[in-house]
């Protein structure tokens, strides 16, 4: 079932036309460079709290973010740096969240992967796995009620998150409402240390689509152009009214669960299987075969510059000050107006 697009990476870029390979390639690269830096900052003790990376998952995640338009909704999870960058989240947001800058989207009140900005269409995840599925569904219900047409919502989950009641209820609700929702499951074979056979008993999570009454798409998550095609297609189907789309990509996370974890529980034979391919390398090889080796090098350097500049900038920013904080969890607390009903 899993879609894979042989040779797609070798097609030559055309002048004046959006080049998916270039778009996705640069997104993967930016994410990887940024995440490598975050890992280093973590090891240098510059970050408080955990660092959760998406190495090896950039193709699937990035293709999702890139398939969306302005006005769409993106609700990333913990391994979606590429999706965020693809959707347009500025690099500086990630760094501000991780380094606890007061100027960041969460002002230091929340951090790391728990960031977003609803006004820009990025929902800030809560940690509870599965919770974002129904939330994006709610945003889409609201858009439909407001008469906003043609918007798509996309959210991401891991294989482990599919075991949550939240995921189930959310996807089922979206299916009943026939919402333009794309749910991208990155089946990386593990939830933290737990292998998929301890997580579910079906052969392929895409087999769940029929039971929800939604369209299902399997894809090789290590094949960048396959991811691109599937996500473009799924988002398009959602946009044209075909209801929720379940995309399941098979891949491996090429890092620990968080940077504190060495991932030593991942079986060797999986690492050396097709599933264990690094989508960045696949991309790079394709780019080389295409004759764009120089450009690739340029993009990498550009990304490195971008990251270093952002780190420098954010490092100089103020951290939150408890005395300046407004310690109020509600807006209306203390309010006491007379409300006259008519």
């Amino acid at each position: 079932m899993a879609i894979r697009v042989a040779g797609a990476l070798e097609s030559k870029p055309k002048k004046g036309v959006v080049d998916p390979i270039e778009l996705l390639g640069r997104t993967i690269l930016r994410a990887r460079v940024l995440e490598d830096k975050l890992g280093n900052l973590y090891r240098a003790g510059r970050i408080v709290g955990g660092v959760y990376l998406g190495k090896g998952q950039e193709a699937l995640s990035g293709a999702g973010g890139l398939a969306l338009r302005k006005g769409d909704i993106f609700a990333p999870l913990i391994r979606d740096m590429a999706g965020r960058l693809g959707f347009g989240e500025p690099m500086v947001d990630a760094l501000r969240a991780y380094l606890g800058s007061r100027l960041g989207p969460m002002k230091g009140r929340d951090g790391n992967i728990h960031r977003g900005d609803i006004t820009r269409g990025i929902l800030p995840m809560i940690s509870h796995l599965g919770a974002m599925v129904s939330t994006v569904a709610g945003v889409l219900v609201a858009k439909r009620m407001k008469g906003e047409k043609g918007r798509v919502g996309l959210t991401c989950a891991g294989d482990g998150a599919t075991s949550t009641g939240s995921f189930h209820e959310g996807l089922n609700l979206a299916a009943v409402e026939k919402l333009p929702l794309v749910v991208v499951v990155a089946d990386n074979g593990y939830a933290y240390s737990t292998p998929r056979e301890r997580q579910f008993a079906c052969e392929d999570l895409v087999d769940r689509a029929k039971g929800y009454g939604v369209e299902g798409h399997g894809v090789d998550g290590t094949d960048p152009m396959a991811c691109w095609k599937v996500l473009q297609h799924a988002v398009e189907r959602a946009r044209e009214g075909a209801g929720p789309q379940l995309v399941v990509g098979k891949l491996l996370r090429l890092c620990g669960h968080g940077e504190h974890d060495d991932g030593s529980y991942v079986e060797k034979k999986i690492k050396s299987s097709e599933r264990g391919r690094d989508c960045l390398k696949v991309m790079e090889e394709g780019i080389k075969k295409r004759g764009q080796e120089k450009e690739w090098q340029g993009w990498r350097e550009e990304a490195q510059r971008e990251v270093e500049e952002a780190v420098a900038k954010v490092s100089a920013e103020p951290v939150p000050d408890p005395f300046e904080e407004d310690w109020r969890a509600t807006q209306s607390d203390g309010m006491a107006e007379v409300m006259v009903a008519s």
Partner: protein, 321 residues
């Protein structure tokens, strides 16, 4: 014309749907059927597409409302019974309630909980959950006791920029009646002195207000003047009004239908003891349901929850000091 507590809830929702295009209602059987208690009767017909049946998915129902609220709508979610909201609790406590503080963006939604015991409803259709919701930061928790409050406070809840848990008492739905819908309201978040008295203050909320008033009447025959304070909203809790009353009476009994440990009555006693210690002429006491699940059989139920008789006994005990 007479208006029940339930009519008031229905009318408030109808008014909100009429006045504010951002309002919609989501819940099990709330559509054509009008809800298990008929709190949304005829609303689906009057407001097509805005009173929507949900699947049996409390977590997703609340999660959906969180998303809709973030996107500018004003969802009202009806739980079929408060007790089932445990299954949707996470989205309320960890998502709705944290959104404003985490993001600076509001999450205005109302979670309607048909709450409290009725005879024969048993352990899973009788609960009062205000304590659980009040413990977590970020949520306003309302517990109206009168037809008037049911109406004005629900309108208020819908207008507030914060997530609100609206605890409606099922025992009041059909039996509590008023002449007409109110034209004005008690200020938001303010407790109300239901009955003045100078001997002791009885602080309570929701259906227990009526039991407390009955107890006060009983004690009046014995020559005691009981001041009854209806908290109306338990979070934020109007400590000022409570303290002002205790300043007049010097004595306190706090009553809650829910369980004792960490309930609203514990919160009231703790606040008065801390902030009004000098006002007290006797130990402040509280009265709650017994610390077991809520019994099915009416004989047991009547002994489990606070009633006018038990409240009167509690008041006498504090007065005797």
């Amino acid at each position: 014309m007479s208006v029940t507590y339930l009519d008031a809830i229905r009318s408030a929702q109808e008014k909100a749907l009429r006045d504010d295009p951002r309002v919609f209602i989501y819940g099990q059987d709330v559509g054509k059927f009008g809800g298990a208690f008929k709190a949304t009767k005829n609303l689906a017909e009057k407001f097509p597409g805005r009173v929507v049946d949900s699947p049996i998915s409390e977590d997703a129902m609340v999660g959906m409302a969180v998303g809709a609220a973030m996107e500018g709508m004003r969802p009202i979610v009806e739980m079929q019974f408060a007790d089932f909201s445990t299954v949707g609790l996470n989205q309320m406590l960890n998502h709705a309630a944290t959104t404003f503080w985490r993001t600076g963006k509001p999450c205005p939604m109302v979670l309607r909980l048909p709450s409290g015991g009725t005879p024969g409803s048993g352990p899973f259709h009788s609960q009062s959950m205000e304590a659980i919701y009040s413990h977590y930061p970020g949520i306003v928790v309302m517990t109206p006791a009168t037809v008037e409050d049911a109406y004005t406070m629900l309108l208020e809840a819908i207008e507030l920029p914060d997530p609100v848990v609206f605890c409606e008492h099922k025992l009041l739905y059909y039996h509590l009646k008023s002449e007409a819908l109110p034209e004005s309201a008690v200020p938001a978040f303010r407790a109300r002195v239901v009955r003045t008295g100078r001997d002791i203050t009885c602080v309570t909320y929701s259906a227990m207000v009526h039991e407390a008033v009955a107890a006060a009447e009983e004690l009046a025959e014995e020559g005691y003047e009981v001041e009854v304070v209806d908290l109306r909203t338990v979070k934020p809790l109007d400590t000022d009004t409570v303290l002002a009353s205790v300043a007049r009476t010097g004595r306190l009994l706090a009553v809650g239908e829910s369980w004792p440990w960490g309930g609203a009555s514990a919160e009231v006693v703790a606040r008065v003891a801390s902030e009004g210690f000098e006002l007290l002429d006797a130990p402040p006491k509280r009265l709650n349901a017994k610390d077991t699940p809520i019994p099915y059989h009416p004989n047991l139920w009547a002994a489990h929850r606070p009633t006018a008789v038990r409240i009167a006994a509690g008041l006498r005990e504090v007065l005797r000091y």
